[in-house]
Symmetry: C2
Subunit: 451 residues, 2 copies
């Protein structure tokens, strides 16, 4: 397969020489997901031409959908309001919703004005659902059946629905009030006698989600029950739409990214291809918070300046205690946040999990503490120093294991994102505690350390 | 919905009072994914009874499949070899493969001996594929069609395949040599005139993966092209099996967990519900490595013991430089490893990405460096100390941004897991470099610091 860089070069050459018909043929052969990466290598003018060519093939919307959204503003710059409206008008409602957010604010009203009326109405309706809710991810293109309908009639209704979405996998049975009563996998429909009523084939009371449910919850349901699509209903169980598994995969991927990012104090919009200025703006606030926590640690060390003055070797071992406690805390934190995200915590309980992390921290603290004490005594020839290091490591590793588990569990109990604040809180706490424990113990043992 | 704890209590009461028929009815009403968490709350005897009841309902295998594999050894302890064999014999081959690995080694041969012959053969064949490859995740239950077959005949073949897997979504067209030539979405089949040959309906040259391909690659393909299933072929393009999207979701989830775990130096098998002893055994080796890197940092600090002796305030600010550099490095590392995992790096290039992280680190280093210098001067009333802190922060933040990007990119270029080693290498490097930069600069400026 040709690399994207190679294809991009070919495309540029074709565009530069004005042979757009050949460029068009090249693009026509590529799946949208393969065209998208090329756009980042093109100039504004080139990108505009490519979008025009794709637009003629009715594929511009599909390609735009495949772009990481953080790249959209650049692309929009190269396009007129009318062209943006023409392209996005073809998107399914969930994709349309997401893209609209990325149109620069000063142009958004203009672009929306140029959308067809029915699409604008649809958009306004979808925007009523909360951010990241099922209502915003669902598609409203589904086939609803009456339970008295025969299997063959249902098959005919698929045919009648036309050439649209090939990924229709289930048909939904609704009653007179549009309430969801069952689901019919298309495979089961096909295998049934043509005259059999749909009501006898359907799986009754299917798993469904409420439109207000968070997308993370939707992903959990799909993952848990191995579904290919999940129906979305309102408070009265009326069928509103369907979320398909490809959107769920996007949600799962996005949520995993978010958790990793949050643990490192990163914002979701800070990506590898974001311009440096955006990354700086996104990271700076958190780095200033982090600076504050570092100075808190510095302040704790400052409390013991007199002790360090008398035993400078303490400064040498400070990185050992803090480094080990920080790592232990991060490990416990990672285990617990991931377990919360995957719902694995239901295979244990919060209390049991925190107790276990405490125990693990304690044992690892004792083991590595003995090793550290041995190295320190051999290196500095001061048994008292080894003892202080050992005690500090045991205490701070145990505490950091406990905190690594307790902080995300507490945040979850308070209905906060367990990944978001945990990173800062846990690392600050472990650092501060480790310095305090080590230097505090050393101060208590000062006579023996100096001797 | 009743909580798992509540249902577990009810179940226990029913089991204790010997009313197994009611327990059986309770279990029959629950989806397998909801039964699984209960098992962790039961004693060995209770779990054995539940498995017996589920086995009578032919659902024991489905429930076992839903358990986190780390919990299987406990469950196996409660079951006889014969019972384990009876249960796992019902699993699809990819699930069977995974479960077999968790049978304690001393019982594995016995259990396998009790499997039906054809299943044991199937297992041995599947085990020939490399660990985590497509060949191990695929199911061999698919429908292959001849391209001359009429649409109606194809539909009949679905009916003939019986009531098995309801999730068949695509049918595959193969030639005389069993080579894959096209794919027919079941929905398209249903919408086509009954007499139309399959060869005219099919999508030719479908996206497929090789049996040896890594499961991560398979997940990337499914995510990229929004597929619901992907055919698996051998080197001659012969169709071997199919990987469905529910397995891909498991792979995506697993790979995300792995990446997060690797960044924190954790082993995949160390879960929230693993016994503490297992977690300790898994974490200890890495913690000893980490101890080594901490002592490396301590050694660097030790080189400057004389300097610290003269200016004890340096010990106070060490945590600031190391803490900030460590965080900056982790942020760059997280951005780049995630971009590599999601294939987003193709929207940029390695060189551009590393350059950007360097620039971001530099700017954030300058900003937070100015803030730190101001605080340090105000606190310690020593302008020279502020200057040393500022210079050290600028240099070490820039370098840690660069390293955070360069290390995973280099590991990837060497075909190593970019997440696995990066965490240790980057944090060690940033720590060591930060201490070296800060204390080195301070030593050079020693006259002005003492003055």
């Amino acid at each position: 397969m040709a690399t994207p860089e190679f294809t991009a070069r070919t495309l540029r050459r074709l565009l530069a020489s004005g042979v757009t018909t050949r460029a068009e043929r090249l693009l026509a052969k590529m799946p949208p997901a393969d065209v998208a990466p090329l756009l980042s290598d093109l100039t504004g003018d080139e990108a505009r031409t490519v979008i025009e060519l794709l637009f003629r093939q009715r594929r511009a919307a599909l390609v735009m959908r495949e772009l990481p959204p953080e790249m959209l503003p650049q692309l929009f710059e190269a396009l007129s309001d009318q062209r943006i409206a023409d392209v996005i008008a073809r998107l399914e409602i969930d994709d349309l919703l997401e893209l609209v957010d990325w149109i620069p604010e000063d142009r958004r009203a203009e672009v929306l004005q140029r959308l067809p009326d029915h699409r604008r109405d649809e958009l306004m309706k979808a925007e009523l659902y909360p951010e990241s809710s099922a209502g915003r991810v669902m598609t409203t293109a589904f086939i609803g059946l009456d339970e008295k309908m025969a299997a063959q009639e249902a098959i005919d209704s698929i045919r009648a629905a036309g050439d649209g979405n090939e990924s229709i996998l289930y048909l939904y049975v609704v009653d007179d009030r549009r309430c969801l009563s069952g689901v019919v996998p298309i495979r089961r429909l096909v295998s049934s006698p043509p005259s059999r009523p749909v009501g006898e084939i359907m799986i009754p009371d299917p798993v469904c989600v409420r439109a207000e449910a968070d997308q993370e919850e939707v992903a959990a349901v799909v993952r848990r029950y191995d579904l290919l699509a999940v129906p979305v209903v309102d408070v009265d169980n009326r069928l509103l739409g369907v979320i398909t598994v490809d959107d769920v995969i996007d949600v799962i991927t996005e949520e995993a990214t978010e958790d990793m990012y949050h643990l490192a104090g990163l914002s979701d919009e800070d990506r590898v291809f974001s311009p440096a200025l955006i990354s700086i703006r996104k990271r700076l606030p958190w780095m200033l918070v982090n600076l504050g926590t570092c100075f808190l640690a510095a302040w704790v060390v400052g409390l013991f300046e007199r002790t360090i003055e008398q035993v400078v070797a303490l400064a040498v071992f400070m990185p050992v205690v803090a480094g080990m406690a920080g790592n232990g805390g991060t490990q416990s934190l990672t285990i617990i946040t991931r377990a919360i995200a995957l719902g694995e915590i239901e295979f244990s309980t919060g209390l049991r999990a925190a107790g276990k992390e405490l125990a693990v921290g304690l044992v690892i603290g004792i083991t590595t503490g003995v090793a550290s004490a041995a190295i320190a005594m051999f290196w500095q020839a001061k048994p008292a120093l080894g003892l202080a290091l050992f005690l500090a490591m045991v205490v701070s590793m145990a505490v950091s294991g406990l905190m690594g588990a307790a902080v995300p569990l507490a945040l979850k109990a308070l209905r906060q994102d367990p990944a978001l604040g945990s990173g800062v809180i846990v690392t600050t706490f472990t650092d501060v505690f480790a310095f305090f424990a080590f230097l505090g113990i050393a101060t208590l043992m000062l006579d023996r350390l100096i001797a």
